[in-house]
């Protein structure tokens, strides 16, 4: 590994996967840029009503 690497990560996509990836990275010591093309993060999951199989609210 070379030492010219930057300790930051760009996460492209603000859906559930992108958001959580960004959180894990930020919480484990990396600076994170979360990039989302839409006006808000949340992705498709935020539009769902309930989730299977527990029928928990998706929000």
């Amino acid at each position: 590994m070379n030492s010219t690497k930057t300790g930051s990560v760009v996460v492209i996509g603000g859906g559930i996967s992108g958001m959580l990836s960004a959180l894990d990275l930020a919480n484990s010591g990396f600076y994170v840029y979360l990039v989302e093309k839409g006006p808000s993060i949340g992705g498709v999951m935020a539009q769902l009503d309930k989730t299977f199989p527990t029928n928990d609210c998706a929000m």
Binding site: G15, A22, S28, Y31, S40, G43, T54
Partner: protein, 885 residues
Amino acid sequence: MPLKYVINPDVCLKLQKDKCGTCADVCPANAIDYTQTEETITLNAGSIVFSPGFKPFDPSRFDNYQYANYPNVVTSMEFERLLSASGPTHGHVMTMPKLPMKPKKKADKALAEKRKDPKKIAWFQCVGSRDMNKCDNAYCSSVCCMYAVKEAIIAKEHDPELEPYIFFMDMRTPGKEFEKYYQNAKEKHGINFVRARVHSVTEDRDTHDLNIRYADEMGQIVDDSFDMVVLSVGLEIPQETRDMAEKLGIDITDHGFCKTDSFEPVTSSRDGVYVSGVFNNPKDIPESVLDASAAASAAGDFLADVRGTMTKAEEKIEETNVIGDPPKIGVFVCDCGSNIAGVVDCPSLTEYAKELPYVEFATETLYACAQDTQDKMVETIKEKGLNRIVVAACTPKTHEPLFQESMVNAGLNKYLFEMTNIRNHNSWVHKNNPEIATEKAKDLVRMAVAKAALAQPLAEEKINVNDTVMVVGGGLAGLTAAKSLATQGYDTHIVEKKDVLGGEALKLYKTAQGEDVGEKMAALVADIEANEKITVHTNTTLEGVEGFVGNFKSKLVSGGNETELEHGVAVLATGAKCSEPTEYCFGDDDRIIKTLDLDKMLKEQDAKLDSVKTAVFIQCVGSREPNRPYCSRVCCTHSIDNAIELKKRNPETDVFILYRDIRTYGERELLYKEARELGVIFIRYEVDRKPEVKVEKDAVKITLIDHVLNQPVEIEADLLTLAAAIEPRKDERLANFFKVPLNDEGFFVEKHAKLGPAEFATDGVFVAGSGHYPKPVNEAATQGRAAASRALTLLAKKDSLFTSGTIATVDQEKCSQCGVCVSICPYNAPGFAADGRFAGTAEINPVLCKGCGLCVASCRSGALHLRGFDTNQIFSQIFALGEVV
């Protein structure tokens, strides 16, 4: 999600024609700025996580379903919004949902008058998936079967009169707890499942009801009429994403999904670029969440040596001492848009709150959780010198931490906060009785204020975290987790009871993508053994665990020698095993084998294979049965893979697969397709009409009823492979060591089915691999990485890990030393004080206490109290409720 309005520049009159401009005039915050334009920002980053997601398939181009033309044909995504309380109909399902709720056009108005509550709804599965005729999506989208079942159940819950029908090819419910959900849908909820692909939909011109035509299983043409049709659309990778992938220089499959290695399942073909979510093959939420953490782990591994170089420390705000000060309560009433204000009279509620004892300030907010409201809250607290805050809004489960953060920003202890739920508990359930709802909201606020007045600042204890990690289980998932943790600098110990590392994966031949498992595992094991940070304990068992997050002490026993390992976190990756079939004459004849036996033969190039003329596979052997009601997930793909292998070795071999539903989810579907093209014959059987197996001298005879012909079919095979169920190890002792639960079947129960799939509710304990649920190589590796990532976030927080303030405390004067608390606590938090004035009385270890209150309720002497929920606070709430105002 930040609730901010944005301007759609394509239709904005101001931007397009420089007319209008009303929004700038009316915005009290002067937030409108027409001069903003696109900016290009260059970011320097060490790596990229690419998680672009998917687009729901657009069914407009299917002329047979007339989605574009019929008002009652909707997509599953649209139906999802119909069910949602925050959707356009506030959760009320009605026909013609695509029309505006209050239509303006004349034709729409006429149509809207025909709106009704649907009584019969049909779901069509595989719209835009598993389809090469009308679109090019040969893969399975993996999620539609389950979401359709869910939508049908929820719709039926809304209206018990509803008759939901789901038209499907194979029901694909191979996830954890999915099969039970499907069976419950059939048996408890009365959802109708029809195995058919619907040919076409026509519309009654007058009523707009939909007539459908399909061939049932016996080939009979059936006509039926429905009020609504929901198209279960698949997940698709849009062209835009493919273009971006090309720009990023990463390889994608024909369908636009990222190409990854099964053993490095989130690593793209380009160094430093990691992928997650549906772009990395169709998947549901928990798998996307696992991908997310796994990608974080992989990106972190790549940047291990520069970790922590760019992060900034948070500024600490001095906490105001409020002890002794009279309560000065601030009340924030949230409208939640129209969610609350649409029912509850929020202005009068706010006025009412102002009159309550100790209330210094009360205000109404459109969205209490919005960032600007939060900033205002901080400002108000400082300006008015408030020392207790009540928010009347939604559920503390999701929003309490946010408000508490604002408390901290304003210099207040976060436990001086009280939240009352006037949405879920009030405006949503009493939406038809606004007056009563307003009264109830007043009661709730009065109770919250009474409790808040008694709130005390609570201290959180710092937890010291030991840097060492223990991974239990040296299979693929455990090794993957260990490798990532060690790469990022943590001493990692792998505990394996066998004499070699590798686990069940060593018995596999190839992955679904054709990788040689043996070779890959050997390379992984070599990596592990070469890693200085990793200590491998083979032939070792775990005989006891003490302690808690950050401070575990485990007893390891190897060959009679006992050692103690101190570690901060643990990853449980104990895997699963193949069950021994009790049916289909297994064990009576060496031509009847299990899938893993066939893998062994293929691995060893067993000469016996050359003489096989007819090979039969039976699926669901011991799975999806009353005593093992789950689907073993991997067997369909595994058998098909082996069937292809046999066909390729010798195209003359007749290969039959006897199945109940083929569950080749995601791009595994392509294998199913390939198998059919190679001439593998698939015959479906019903669970109550299982194949019969007889061992004869020249052949193993298999008889079953063909579902198409409804005639008995007899196959004489010289190799019968049983897809035996995958069974958890059901290690109750291990579960007990770490206080983690097992489900009915013996799999570990994760923290949260959706959002916490690689960790346990017990802090500092993580889960990976088939001990959680049966999974193929790539998913086990993903979960291994995900568990590592979750563990890493905890280890990285080393200096800022605190307990909760809401824990039990002991009034030692009152303690009778009876020990009920010590005995009853599921978390071992209470103990007896060893010395001091109160030696012998109970004391609580704040680190172990979860604040569940069991001890408090069990204490006969009234010596135990739950901070933040003290008896006087509860009483004050009850009395406040009783107050006639």
